[in-house]
């Protein structure tokens, strides 16, 4: 019984992790068709923002939930202005430019903060489930991810801002004809995506620590999740995470972690072979 509960927590944890690291990328890719190769580095910067501010005496929760998204959101603003905007519509060029940005950010962080792991301890302690004990922070992380998904859906579907953003993505010319500035919408969207990535980095920092190259550990899985999810950004990403996460968790548990990781890729390839437009190609229309 307790083993089942712990396994369920591990599964939920895997879904939450995949969702968390993919949301920012999904928003930017889904709304703007910008393939952001520096996504992993946005996560890394969020982690650094959290660890550094927490180590300078700021409350850890504020550091994770406020400082990290704010910092990376601002960086996203600058990046959009300098790199993304001039190249808008040129998918390959943008991809190369963000790849360059990713290398630059790794180099810059290495130069400034050194090539060592920094970290903060996870808060909240642990609870005991039978013979197992589980970190409470891990459970909170699952809850926060669920709340984030809810918030994204709400903003996109139920607010004026979400309506404007979706409208602009569908038809920028029409949007500008009725007085909406698409440039501004894109800037806001990119900032929001960057802030989400920063938040993910902040939330992951107590679990993984931070190191300049940490983005590489996340970017492949984030891309796999987003592409498997298809065009419905939030729901698609969530459903991809909901299929890939448990597979990895169960196979890592039953077999070895290497098989779990390999299964993630094989499953994603299989999914895209059967559903070339991603999981959300099944129903389409939803966000």
């Amino acid at each position: 019984m307790d083993q089942t509960i712990v396994l369920l927590i591990a599964i939920a944890n895997n879904i939450a992790l995949l969702t968390l690291i993919s949301l920012g990328l999904a928003i930017i890719f889904g709304m703007m068709r910008v393939i952001n190769f520096a996504h992993g580095e946005f996560i890394m910067l969020g982690g650094y923002a959290t660890v550094l501010s927490a180590n300078h005496g700021i409350n850890l929760w504020i550091a994770m939930l406020v400082v990290a998204p704010l910092t990376v959101g601002l960086i996203g603003f600058v990046v959009e202005r300098l790199i993304i905007r001039p190249l808008y519509g040129q998918i390959i060029t943008t991809m190369l430019a963000t790849w360059g940005l990713s290398i630059f950010l790794i180099g810059a962080v290495t130069t400034i903060f050194g090539n060592t792991v920094l970290g903060v301890s996870a808060p909240l302690g642990n609870i005991t489930i039978g013979v197992y004990s589980v970190s409470i922070y891990q459970l909170v992380l699952i809850a926060i991810t669920a709340a984030l998904v809810g918030a994204c859906l709400f903003v996109l579907n139920r607010t004026r801002w979400g309506l404007i953003a979706r409208g602009t993505v569908q038809n920028p010319t029409m949007a500008s004809a009725i007085g909406i500035d698409p440039t501004r919408v894109y800037a806001m969207t990119f900032m929001a995506g960057a802030a989400l990535s920063g938040l993910a980095g902040g939330l992951l920092a107590p679990l993984s620590g931070v190191i300049p190259q940490m983005g590489a550990a996340y970017i492949a899985r984030a891309f796999v999740t987003v592409i498997s999810g298809g065009s419905a950004m939030v729901i698609g990403t969530l459903s991809a995470a909901g299929i890939l996460g448990p597979t990895v968790a169960i196979l890592s548990y039953a077999a070895t972690p290497v098989i779990g990781e390999a299964a993630l890729l094989l499953l994603a390839i299989g999914l895209l072979r059967v559903l070339p437009r991603g999981i959300s190609g099944l129903w389409q229309g939803g966000r």
């Binding site: 083993q3 712990v6 396994l7 927590i9 591990a10 944890n13 895997n14 992790l17 090539n115 060592t116 792991v117 920094l118 970290g119 903060v120 301890s121 996870a122 302690g125 642990n126 005991t128 013979v131 197992y132 004990s133 589980v134 970190s135 922070y137 891990q138 992951l204 107590p206 679990l207 993984s208 620590g209 190191i211 190259q213 940490m214 590489a216 550990a217 968790a249 890592s252 548990y253 070895t256 972690p257 290497v258 779990g260 990781e261």
Partner: protein, 410 residues
Amino acid sequence: MKLSRRKFLGSAAAGTAIAAAMAHSMPAIAGDTVAVGSLHDLTGSLDAFGVPSHMCMKFAIEEINAAGGLLGKKIDLKTYDGQSDIKKFPQYAQQAALNDKVVMLQGAITGASREATRPVLRRYKVPFVYGTIYEGGLCEDNAISVNTGSDQQAVPLLEWSFRNLGKKVFYIGADYNAPRNIGIWNNAIAKREGGETVGEEYYPLDVTDFSTAISKIQAAKPDFLHSCLVGGPHMSFYRQWAAAGMLKKIPIVSVVFGGGQEHMILTPEESDGVIAAYNYFQELDTPENKAFIKRFEASVGADHPYINGIAIGGYNGPMLWAEAVKKAGSFDRDDVMAALAQNIEWTGPGGKMILDGKTHSTQQDVRIIQVKNRVWSLLETKSQIPPYDFNGRCNLLENPKNVDILNPQV
């Protein structure tokens, strides 16, 4: 021309005199120095290993020079930065051998950089000194290993653990050859000590989420956890282990924890109680080590990186090599390596070391140590652990041609 005895003696004497004069003038031509190379990763992702090792090596050369040099010559340390990039290693090894004419080169800490460097130095007959702890199995006439092979750490540590912590072990390691070799030892010692391996898991080096690993370990209920997790991403394991409240429940033993300065990077709440085994740790309370640290800090200042069991190889390597040079009375590769047959003995900060002529590896003390509040303290000293000879397969006196890396068969 008729050669009288007197004439012959005269010209022979003159010839000898000229030859003697030439021999004397040789060092003047070559200068009064001899070059030695340090090839460590001083920048890039592996600098945490390279920089302290290089510092220790530089200090060893300073001390040799301060004591009058070797065979009347001062040593000129040539420093090459491997930049955590495998391609740089053979290039710099070649430059060191051909351009800078080094008589010894030390460094190349990772297994991959070692394998890239070793053949180049072999070709140009430059002795290669390997200073780090490693998986074991280096058995080559041109190379000497002055630190411990994994068995020299893992066997004493596991024996101690099975006697003091319990019979059930769970082994978790990074997925490459060194942790897998140590896994072989783990299971062999478990069997020998009447213990049991209740789980064995290998994780790719970039994994940062260990939640399934932790529940697996909890389900297996080991008496202790044997960890060979390596590198920055894997430090996440210790964070998540502590966050799940396991650090106080199941003790961790490791032959690599601390080698990447894990005890300084993790907080005490995430690392207190971890047990490791090394030939050396900076807090070691012996007169030799106290004196060493004092001299070292007089040279580099008190604000230096922690000197762990890997970094100390940077100091021990040149010292053991210098002993061999003195025995040989020559810097020539063949003479120095021939002198190794006499089992070079030297006492350093970590105690007595004997460089074994058969394996070119080093017998030394190994210490079981435990960390608390970022400070290591001694639990037990295992005296003079000999290098493993791979059941007789490594014998460079009988088979000097071997260059293959040997794998344990236990």
